[in-house]
Subunit: 123 residues, 2 copies
């Protein structure tokens, strides 16, 4: 079965529905909010954008993701942890370097919430 493809973390991402069709439930709102809170920061949004722009949606933390930020190493590490805890990125340690990789399921869940219905309200 294909269940094993998606880790348990997927549970919080499961029920994603476009906002505009019918009011989302409290549970759905809380699930999506976890993702949105993680993305609702300029630094993390840029980090996510940088990760996604790299080949394979993957980037090395200190190699690729430091440039352009005037922040300490611990702060960057903290932000990456927030993205990881939200299920937006996977972590892969190879030797000394740590690679962060975007999780398409998570970003897909966000995209689903804001899909079609949103720009054209119901009538």
């Amino acid at each position: 079965m294909s269940m094993s493809l998606i880790p348990a973390r997927e549970a919080t991402l499961g029920s994603c529905t476009p906002l505009a069709r019918e009011p989302i439930t409290t549970e759905q709102a809380e699930g999506v909010t976890r993702l949105l809170k993680a993305l609702a920061d300029p630094v993390r949004l840029r980090l996510m954008s940088m990760i996604l722009s790299y080949e394979g949606g993957e980037a090395c933390a200190m190699c690729d993701l430091t440039e352009g930020f005037d922040l300490s190493q611990s702060t960057l590490s903290h932000h990456l942890k927030v993205l990881h805890d939200a299920g937006l990125v996977d972590r892969d340690k190879r030797g000394v370097w740590v690679y962060y990789k975007a999780r398409p399921e998570a970003m897909g869940a966000v995209r689903t919430v804001f899909s079609s219905g949103l720009a054209e309200p119901q009538d």
Copy 2:
């Protein structure tokens, strides 16, 4: 000219680009973050969803948007103000009632950021 259709608030929504194509700029990130911060709350996400679900993407504050929330009137009013300040909804007072209406441009900007590229990382 059609400029007048969109208020000055549009300025912060202007430059919206998919996250995955190339890294977004700091300015873009800060602009989008304003919208995301406003949406990254369970109550406000439900409010936005309820507003969008109503006919014409418009809903009366105390008539339509109170049901299902265990929050004080001032708290609901506060959340609606946050959505309004972010440019996500317009306010329209008709007599005693206040109607909140979704702004398609704002939701479209959010949707653009999370559009196509996001679920399928670059390769």
